[in-house]
């Protein structure tokens, strides 16, 4: 009983972060900020949701932990790949941006 309550709370926090992440994808102004909300909140959200399931069903705990760790390692990589590809293709930053060091780098000459 305690286990089910604890697992539900952990999963619930994870679901809250997944909700905030998807809301952020709608609210943010450009691709980079959307990536911020879209991958960061989902990393923690998916991690907590998986661990919560593992707490409710103890015989699955190690498997869910492996899945959670894979998410934790691979999500930043995909985030990085999408961001880098966007910048290399010349997707502009939003108007509210204050600084962009890539303008002075030859690796990122403007191609837009």
């Amino acid at each position: 009983m305690v286990r089910v309550v604890a697992g539900t709370i952990v999963s619930g926090i994870g679901v809250f972060f997944l909700l905030v992440g998807s809301l952020g994808v709608f609210r943010m102004p450009d691709v980079y900020n959307r990536l911020q909300a879209g991958t960061k909140c989902t990393t923690l959200g998916a991690f907590l949701a998986m661990v919560g399931v593992g707490i409710i069903e103890p015989q699955w705990f190690w498997k869910t932990l492996v899945i959670a760790l894979f998410i934790l390692v691979t999500n930043p990589v995909s985030n990085h790949a999408i961001g880098r590809a966007s910048k290399k293709c010349g997707v502009p930053l939003c108007d509210r941006s204050v600084v962009d060091v890539t303008e002075s780098l030859k690796e990122y000459e403007d191609r837009s």
């Binding site: 943010m28 911020q36 910048k87 600084v99 060091v101």
Partner: protein, 173 residues
């Protein structure tokens, strides 16, 4: 003579680490201690360790020691705290009616030498919300920051990567 012996023990060590990691993953996935499962897992781990040993050695992971493991555990604890704290920050920004963002891309210099260390640092920066690593050019990390607190390189480095870099330097020293 001593060089080749060292090299050989180094290579044996890499194979052993790889085997232990693969076997641990197998144990977690099967979650069973029956001898059939264990033998199959051990056999598969040995084959994969021999097959992937060269690739693992080329990563240049440092040898294990108590000090390194201690620093790595401290690093993981700090990372976890930062991930939780910073996730609440981003949740606040997203839910705030005025969307208080001030995004920008800053350059952050790092002192870390090994590629693996740089990769772990870049992934840590990406995991702590508010910042993500766009690219690594030499020893410079390009970081997208959702609320730019400082445009100066050193100040930005202190705020973004300072907390992790100290521990990673100790681990990969």
């Amino acid at each position: 003579m001593t060089d080749t012996t060292n090299e050989r023990t180094g290579r044996m060590r890499d194979y052993c680490y790889l085997f232990v990691m693969l076997f641990a993953t197998w144990l977690m996935l099967t979650s069973s201690l029956q001898w059939q499962e264990l033998t199959t897992g051990a056999l598969i781990s040995v084959v994969l360790a021999i097959y992937l040993g060269k690739t693992y050695a080329s990563l240049g992971m440092p040898p294990l020691s108590v000090k390194r493991i201690g620093y790595f555990i401290a690093y993981l604890a700090i990372l976890f705290v930062e991930v939780m704290r910073a996730n609440f920050d981003v949740a606040c920004i997203v839910l705030h009616p005025k969307l208080p963002i001030k995004p920008g891309i800053v350059a952050v210099k790092t002192d870390l030498k090994q590629d693996v260390a740089k990769m772990i640092l870049a992934n840590s920066i990406t995991l702590t919300p508010g910042t993500f690593t766009l690219d690594i050019i030499g020893d410079t990390l390009l970081v997208h920051w959702i609320v730019v607190k400082s445009e100066d390189g050193e100040e930005a480095a202190r705020l973004i990567s300072g907390r992790f870099e100290k521990y990673l330097k100790a681990v990969f020293a």
